[in-house]
C-alpha cells in the first residue's frame, strides 16, 4: 500500500469485529496507517504510545462488511473473520493492511502469497479454523438435565461462536451449553436462538446415572477399538495433543 500516511498513534477498539471494521473504515477513508491497533480490554498503556479510542459505529462497520463481500469476495471475509478470532498479537494491523490492499486489488489479493501480511492473514485463519475443526470432533457433551447438554473446552483462540453454530445446526433438538474456559464465556442455545454469556454465575449440575452409563460405554469402546499390536502413542499424541485431554471423557 504505497502513499499511505503513517501516524504515530495507537488506535483502540472495543474488542468486537464491528469495532475493528470501524477502524478499517476510518483508516481507509483517510489513507492513514496507525502504528498499532489493540482492543482496549487487553491494551497495556505504554509510555511511548498515544492511544485513542475509536467508538464502534455500526453503519461504518456494515459498509465495510458489505464492501469486502462485494469487492474482495466471500473468501476475504472468512479469512479476516477467523484471523480476528486468532489470539496472535498484531492480528489487527495485519487485517487492516490485508483489507485495505484488497480494496485496491480485488479478489486477486488472495493469490499474492509472497506478501507477508496476506500470508499471515491466511496462516492465522488456518490456525483458528483448524482449532475450531478439531474441537468439533473433540468436544464432549454431557447430559446434565432433561435434554440439556453441557460441554467444556479450553481453546487457544476465540472460536466459541462458530463452534456453537456447528452444534446448533447439528443437534437442533437439544439444549446446549458450550463452555469456553479460556475466555470465560458460555454459548447457550435451545436450537433456534443462541446467546453468549460470561461464565461468572455458571453452576454446573452433576450428571445422572444414565449419563454415567453412556460415559462408561464410551470408555469401554475407546479402549477396545485400538489394536494392541499396533500401539503407537506418538502418533496418537500428534493428532490429539495433550492439551485437549483434560476435557475428554475417555482416558487416552
Amino acid at each position: 500500500m504505497p502513499n499511505w500516511k503513517l501516524i504515530n498513534q495507537t488506535l483502540l477498539y472495543d474488542g468486537t469485529f464491528d469495532g475493528l471494521l470501524t477502524i478499517v473504515f476510518d483508516c481507509y477513508t483517510t489513507k492513514t496507517l496507525p502504528q498499532k491497533i489493540a482492543s482496549h480490554q487487553t491494551y497495556e498503556p505504554n509510555f511511548l504510545d498515544k492511544p485513542r479510542l475509536i467508538q464502534t459505529d455500526e453503519a461504518k462497520a456494515n459498509r465495510i462488511f458489505h464492501g469486502i463481500e462485494k469487492v474482495i469476495g466471500q473468501d476475504a471475509l472468512t479469512h479476516s473473520f477467523y484471523c480476528f478470532l486468532c489470539t496472535e498479537a498484531n492480528k489487527e494491523i495485519t487485517i487492516l493492511k490485508y483489507l485495505c490492499d484488497g480494496f485496491e486489488i480485488g479478489p486477486k489479493i488472495n493469490q499474492k502469497l509472497t506478501i507477508s501480511y496476506v500470508y499471515d492473514v491466511i496462516r492465522m485463519h488456518r490456525k483458528a479454523f483448524g482449532e475450531c475443526h478439531r474441537l468439533k470432533g473433540l468436544l464432549r457433551l454431557q447430559e446434565v438435565g432433561p435434554n440439556l447438554f453441557y460441554g467444556s473446552c479450553h481453546p487457544d483462540h476465540a472460536i466459541l461462536e462458530p463452534l456453537g453454530h456447528h452444534f446448533m445446526r447439528r443437534l437442533p433438538n437439544q439444549n446446549l451449553m458450550i463452555h469456553d474456559q479460556t475466555h470465560h464465556l458460555c454459548f447457550i442455545t435451545n436450537g433456534k436462538t443462541y446467546q453468549i454469556i460470561e461464565d461468572t454465575h455458571l453452576v454446573i449440575p452433576t450428571i445422572s446415572k444414565q449419563e454415567k452409563q453412556f460415559q462408561d460405554l464410551w470408555k469401554l469402546f475407546f479402549k477396545t477399538i485400538a489394536i494392541p499390536e499396533r500401539k503407537n502413542p506418538r502418533c496418537q499424541m500428534q493428532f490429539m495433543p495433550k492439551k485437549y485431554w483434560q476435557d475428554l471423557i475417555e482416558e487416552p
Binding site: 486477486k108 493469490q111 499474492k112 502469497l113 509472497t114 507477508s116 500470508y119 496462516r123 475443526h133 468439533k136 470432533g137 473433540l138 468436544l139 464432549r140 457433551l141 454431557q142 447430559e143 447438554f149 460441554g151 452444534f167 445446526r169 447439528r170 443437534l171 437442533p172 433438538n173 437439544q174 453412556f214 462408561d216 460405554l217 464410551w218 469401554l220 469402546f221 475407546f222 479402549k223 477396545t224 477399538i225 485400538a226 489394536i227 494392541p228 499390536e229 499396533r230 500401539k231 503407537n232 502413542p233 506418538r234 502418533c235 496418537q236 500428534q238 493428532f239 490429539m240 475428554l248 471423557i249 475417555e250 487416552p252
Partner: protein, 435 residues
Amino acid sequence: MDIFQKLKILADSAKYDASCSSSGSKRKNGGTGIGNGETAGICHSWGADGRCISLLKILFSNACIYDCKYCINRRSNPVARATFTPREVADLTIGFYQRNYIEGLFLSSAVVGSPDDTMMLLISTVTILRQEYHFHGYIHAKSIPGSSKELITKLGLLVDRMSINIELPSQDSLKLLAPQKEKDGILTPMTHIAKSIAENKQDHSRKKSLFVPAGQTTQLIVGATPESDLKILKLSQGLYQKMNMKRVYYSAYVSVNQDSSLPTLESPPLLRENRLYQADWLLRFYGFQAEELLDDTHPNFNTLLDPKCDWALRHIDQFPVEVNTASYFTLLRVPGIGVISAKKIVMARRQCHLDFASLKKLNVVLKRAQYFITCQGKTMYPRKELSPSCIESSLLRLERNTSPTSSALWGDQLSLFSHLPPTKEDKVKCLTGNL
C-alpha cells in the same frame, strides 16, 4: 448378556477394519431430527494405536458361519459370541451421537444364518436410525458377500458409504485362506454398487433419493499371503479405474490365528502398509501409474525411501524442474511437493517470480524438493552434486539425523537393511484410514 459385554465383544471383533472415514456425504439437517453431515468428515478421537475414531465401529454379530483362516471370528475359533438387536445398535448410536463421541455408525457383521438374513438385520437397524430417529449423520455399512442385489439396493438407499472387503488380493490366496468365499461373490455386488452409483449420479431430478453418496471402498490385507507390492498396487489401480472406488484400504496383517497356511509374523508389516498408502495417494492425486512406481525388476517398495523419491531417483533425467514454468502435474512429481504446495506455487507465480526465499515464505518444505528444482534457472546446490547417488545419500542422512533410535518392532521389516533404523517419518506416519 448386558450391553457392556456385547459392546466389548463386537467392537473387539470390528477393530481390524481399517476404514473409519466420515467424509464425502452432504446429508443436511433441515431443522428436524438429529445430525448433520460434514463433507470433510470429522475425527472425534484417536485410539492408542493412533488410528482415528470417527464412527462407532461395531459388528452386528460375530457368530459367523464361515471359516476364513485369517479371521478372528472364524467358526472354529473359541471366542465369545454375541449378537446385537437392531434397537440396541440404534439407541447406542443416537446416545453416542448426542454426546458428540462419534460422527455416525460403521456397521459390519459376520454372516449369521445366510448372507440375506444378515443383510435384512443390517437394513432394519439402519431403517430405525433413518426413519424413526431421523438421523442425518454418517452411516457406513458393509455389504455381506453373497447377498442379493435387491437387498444391496435397499441398503444403499439408506447409507452414505458401502464397502465389500476383498481382503485377499488374488484368487489363489482366496482359495487357500477363505475357501467358502468366491471371487464372484465379492466382485458381482461391487460392480452392482458401482453401476447404481453411476446411474444415481446421472439422474438430475431434484427428488431423487441418494444412493451411497460417499461412494464405496474396500480393504486388502497386506502380508498374510505372498503377493508382491506391484500386484497389490495394480489391483488397487484397477479398482479405482473400473469400479470407481473411493478408497482402497490396506491393513497390515496381524497374526490372530495359528494355522499352517498362515505366516507367523512377530509384528504387523506396518512399514509396508505405509508405503502402499503413499503409493495409493500417488495413484489418486498425483497422476502416477502403478507400472511407473514398480516393475518386474523392482516388485516391492524401497524400505528406505518413499515411493516418490524412489521414482524420482530412477528418473533423474526428468529433473531438476523449473518451479516458475513447470506444469502443475510436473510439480506434483517433485519429491516433497504435494498437492497443497503445488497449488500454492502455481497461484503465487502468477503474481511474481519465485526464488528459494519466496518458496520458504510460502511454507513449501524444501527438505526433499531442494535437490529436484530450479528457481529462475538456479539450483540450490552445484549441479555436480545432483547425481542420483549424492542425492540419495543426502536424503538418507537427513532422515537419519532426525530419527530416534530403532525399536525391535521394526526388525523383521527391514530384513535387507536391518542395521539401519527406520526414520522418524516412517514411525509417525503409520497412516491409517483417517485421511
